[in-house]
């Protein structure tokens, strides 16, 4: 059933129960339900156009104890965060009332993210690029290899801990 739902975030909240904190980023999706959400968006809400799939690397952070004055209650400790990547997607419904809808998930380093190649063919190259540049491994991708860098390139350049002026003998 095709629905031109005016508020996709509300539809998702009603159907799956995930709330949207940041409208640009959309709801946070658990990894095992990503393909289900994608299929529902494509089949029922007519989002057939891929805008992007972007991975953003956040390095590990230590626990932070915010400063407080003597006599005050100590504020809660900000917990330590592991090395992780934010994988965010965006799809679009075309036509006169064109809207985009984004959704995201957090992938700790070492875990994989399910691939959306079977839902939208365009996710193929997007996921390859994010694997190449940020290092997120997509589970279920038919041919996950480097696309921008050459196949024997060490490291993932767009990670925050990759130095921008890395040497590469014998060319630079």
């Amino acid at each position: 059933m095709i629905v031109d739902h005016p508020d996709t975030a509300a539809w998702v909240a009603e159907r799956f129960g995930w709330q949207t904190a940041d409208p640009e980023l959309g709801p946070q999706v658990p990894a095992d339900q990503l393909v289900a959400l994608a299929t529902a968006l494509r089949d029922e809400l007519d989002f057939a156009y891929v805008v992007y799939c972007v991975a953003v690397h956040y390095p590990a952070e230590d626990e932070i104890q915010p400063k407080f004055k003597e006599g005050e209650e100590p504020p809660p400790v900000i917990p330590a965060k592991p090395d992780r990547c934010l994988v965010t997607y965006r799809v679009r419904r075309l036509g006169p009332g064109t809207t985009t809808f984004g959704f995201h998930l957090w992938v700790p380093t070492g875990e994989t993210c399910p691939s959306l190649v079977d839902v939208w063919a365009g996710m193929d190259w997007q996921e390859r690029e994010q694997y190449d540049l940020v290092g997120v491994v997509f589970d279920g991708h038919p041919d996950l290899r480097r696309i921008m860098m050459s196949e024997d390139w060490p490291g993932h350049p767009l990670r925050r801990d990759y130095a921008i002026d890395t040497r590469h003998h014998p060319w630079r």
Binding site: V56, L94, G95, T98
Partner: protein, 420 residues
């Protein structure tokens, strides 16, 4: 007795992804980008032909490994990255105002589009609106850039089809002569023929000099007359038609799934244009007449781009006489380092570039003390050329080699944008 001819029936359409697409272009099966050649039964040996990173057709550095069964391709594997300049990584080191001349070089054929896209995203993060004069100047400059880009496309496409020495070079010389006039207009406005660094966060850097609108109107009159020359050369040319009609038909559903919009989708019946459907800058003041064709082949894309060229000329003429007075930039002192510090957040904006949807997704990091830093945390440019090239493994199988060159030309990829 006069017989009124029965009207040609409208092609049957099916709704896919929000658009009404012509049914005859929707195919159940596309080429297989992961075809296993061991299982493929060839008439003779399958040959791997390397359409290497250096080839005379002017698409920049793209490598396509074509597996050919005789003259027909069975599998195409594009390789990118020969122009990967790490623009996204570089943007993380620069302040917001300094990013503009860097992204100028992405889609190097239409630099104004790249600048517009990224500065619109920065303005969304900052929460500031450019003043009306800047919006109108942005629209005029974007449409002039579209004219220049399509002129270049016509020229280089004819080079691909006709050869660098033969007939292709004629159209190439003609369209570049007109393109030089547009570059002159931009030189009057910004000082550079190319890579203008004209947009900035909050508006424009250069104001319109006196006499610019007369120059623009004269140039556009001249260019419009010349478009009829190109039509004379190409549209009814039997060689051109033989090479382009019925060749390289793109299934619009596949195009949407791959993220392809712009002339490729519109030539296959997809009536989608961000200028009309999600207007930005001053496009809400103009009625953009979106050109759509339903044949989906290369000839349709050629006619569509020529029609879009004329439409852009018409849009500029609508706007050039009524530019509102006022400031051209909403933020003062944009160039000072640390002047632009958006709060932490995410933003995405998209514009309609001559190749499709050009968007930028920017993550504004927390900076020190969580109030926003002077550099973007992650800058992702969503280039239409990258998506258009991902279409190639699906549409190349089954085509002859010479047709693949023509298809690649008609898709109009720009490698600076695809590789960044």
């Amino acid at each position: 007795m006069a017989v009124t001819p029965s009207p040609t029936p409208e092609p049957a359409t099916q709704r896919v992804g929000g658009l009404e697409l012509p049914v005859e272009l929707l195919r159940p099966a596309w080429g297989d980008p992961y075809l296993d050649l061991d299982d493929y039964d060839a008439e003779s040996d399958v040959m791997a032909l390397n359409l290497g990173p250096q080839h005379p057709s002017t698409h920049g550095v793209l490598r396509v490994k074509l597996f050919m069964d005789g003259e027909v391709c069975v599998r195409a594997v594009p390789y990118l990255g020969y122009l990967h300049r790490g623009v996204e990584k570089l943007c993380e080191k620069l302040s917001y105002a300094n990013v503009t001349p860097i992204v100028d070089k992405n889609d190097y054929v239409s630099p104004m589009m790249n600048e517009l896209a990224i500065n619109m995203t920065f303005e969304k993060l900052m929460g500031c609106e450019p003043p009306p004069r800047a919006q109108v100047i942005r629209t005029i400059v974007a449409e002039l850039q579209r004219v220049a880009s399509h002129l270049l496309w016509v020229g280089t496409f004819c080079l691909d089809i006709g050869g660098a020495i033969g007939g292709g070079a004629s159209a190439f010389m003609h369209t570049f002569r007109e393109r030089e006039l547009i570059l002159e207009i931009f030189e009057e406005l910004t000082g550079c023929r190319f890579h203008y660094n004209h947009h900035t966060v909050g508006g424009q850097r250069h104001d319109i000099p006196a006499g610019w609108d007369t120059l623009v109107k004269q140039t556009l009159d001249h260019i419009e007359r010349r478009t009829f020359e190109y039509e004379d050369m190409l549209t009814e040319n039997p060689v051109f038609k033989a090479r382009t009609i019925g060749v390289g038909v793109v299934d619009p559903k596949l195009a949407m799934a791959c993220g392809v919009s712009g002339p490729v989708l519109r030539a296959s019946g997809g009536d989608h244009d961000l200028r009309r459907d999600a207007p930005y800058a001053a496009y809400d003041r103009v009625d953009v007449d979106v050109q759509v064709r339903t044949e989906g082949d290369i000839y349709a894309r050629y006619l569509l781009r020529l029609a879009e060229l004329r439409e852009s000329i018409r849009i500029v003429r609508c706007l050039i006489d009524d530019i509102p007075e006022g400031p051209i930039c909403a933020l003062k002192a944009v160039k000072l380092p640390g002047a632009v510090k958006p709060k932490p957040g995410f933003a995405y904006t998209a514009i309609e570039s001559p190749r499709g949807e050009l968007g930028t997704f920017v993550v504004a990091g927390p900076g020190k003390r969580g109030k926003g830093g002077p550099n973007p945390y992650r800058c992702k440019i969503r280039p239409p050329s990258y998506h258009v090239l991902s279409l190639l493994p699906y549409i190349a199988p089954g085509e002859n080699l010479s047709d693949i060159i023509a298809i690649l030309g008609s898709l109009d990829p720009i490698m600076g944008e695809a590789d960044r």
